[in-house]
């Protein structure tokens, strides 16, 4: 059971037309090595599910936005864009189909996708544009929207420390969407800063059990 491969082998596993979840909250916990390698490939028609599309105001902190600027993405489901004029343009020009999802609903939909649930009722978005086209249910005199699970073909995630079984520990706020996405994709590729022997991460310190991780790529250097 060897899960460790190199960056090129990892990105070879992503194909045109795939739905790809990308972990991270802007720069923090974002698998940038995997993303930048993917941006160098002739892979397109991707659907990206991510909290955001990177920190667009800063050319050297692009995140998933680099794929959009490359024209590799047909659709994106995110919660936040921030200052990113290129994306507004791409949406206006119909080069990109963009769906905005409240951040907590996005997290919960991904969790539901990884948890075998059929959907859930949330009060978030009631009376707003988020409600459009959704089933509404009154539970205990309160309105809720039915939200469905999200899953992906591939999840690209990033951690601080991993062992050879794929057990992962995230540092501080670089955890965010990473463990949730790892549970909700058919193929999970983990980018890690450090690789340690099995048992070096205490059982209580494992944030994501290795059973969710298919491939591990060690990327020691810091990129921005």
């Amino acid at each position: 059971m060897n899960k460790i491969i190199n960056l090129k082998e990892a990105v070879d596993l992503i194909h045109s037309g795939d739905t790809v979840m990308v972990g991270g909250f802007t720069y923090f916990g974002c698998p940038l090595h995997l993303l930048y390698e993917l941006a160098d490939r002739e892979v397109d028609n991707l659907t990206i599910i991510s909290e955001d599309l990177g920190y667009g105001g800063l050319p050297y902190l692009q995140g998933a936005g680099v794929l959009i600027n490359n024209g590799q993405v047909k659709e994106a489901q995110v919660s936040f864009i921030g200052y990113y004029p290129e994306i507004t343009e791409a949406v206006k020009d119909e080069r990109l189909k963009l769906t905005l999802i409240p951040q907590g609903t996005l997290a919960e939909r991904i969790r539901a996708g990884g948890s075998g649930l059929g959907g859930f009722y949330t009060p978030v978005g009631v009376g707003t544009v988020v409600e459009e086209g959704k089933e509404i249910k009154i539970i205990n005199n309160k309105k809720y929207l039915l939200e469905y699970p999200l899953r992906a073909d591939v999840a690209l995630i990033k951690c601080k420390t991993a062992d050879h079984l794929g057990n992962a520990a995230f540092k501080y706020t670089a955890e965010n969407f990473n463990p949730l996405m790892a549970m909700a994709a058919d193929l999970v590729i983990l980018e890690t800063e450090e690789l340690v022997e099995n048992g070096a991460i205490e059982p209580d310190s494992v944030d994501l059990p290795g059973v969710f991780v298919d491939k591990i790529v060690l990327c020691k250097d810091v990129v921005i």
Partner: protein, 246 residues
Amino acid sequence: MSDINRQIIACNIADMLEDGMFVNLGVGIPTLISNYISYGKTVLLHGENGCIGQDKVLDNDKLLYDRKEITEWLASHGGKDSDWRRGHRDLNNAGDSFITMIPGASCFDSAMSFAMARGGRLDATVLGGLQIDKYGNLANWMVPGKMINGMGGAMDLVCGAKKVIVAMEHCSKSGAPKIVEECSLPLTAVACVDVVVTELCVMEHKDNKYLVKSISPNTSPDEILSKTEATVVFDTEVKTMRIPPA
């Protein structure tokens, strides 16, 4: 918005926060609030990106806009001797600033972060507003035709918090009232506003009206009435807002 207006709003909200309260501060004016929380009072700040217990925001304007500077900072803030006390390349707040944390802070994933926001344990969420209306509706995330931004966590944060406090300038840049009869901009949530704090006054939302609890020494009831479209009433005893030293 003028800096003094922002500071007036921030310091008056800080005074509402009590020791031990668990509070989410949104981007914009709310980030200024922590500067005004009085010494000895522990307010537990929620970062919806996955932490409780933000302490200082590291001054990273320069950091973020100078590539050499940030590369060096990231390299020196990720090793074994770097942690939550002095800042770490894996430690930010929801406004994407590098931060430090207080002793007793905690970190977690995004599902947990919003579970606690919706679940009712958050004592208050403070966020900016583009418009609020007589129904307590809030619009703060989108202006049609303008650049696409995204609602981020705002819709979730106002859903479960015990108190929703809107921090905004009383009128728009063009002078139009922002406290209106009915919001014309896309909503963030319906009937969620509990309190609004502007540079002119602090008002509670109740029964389709805004009740003035305190006003700035630099304004008058007439000015407030003329600049507010929704119905305004005055409390039997209206207090004076605190004006921070310039």
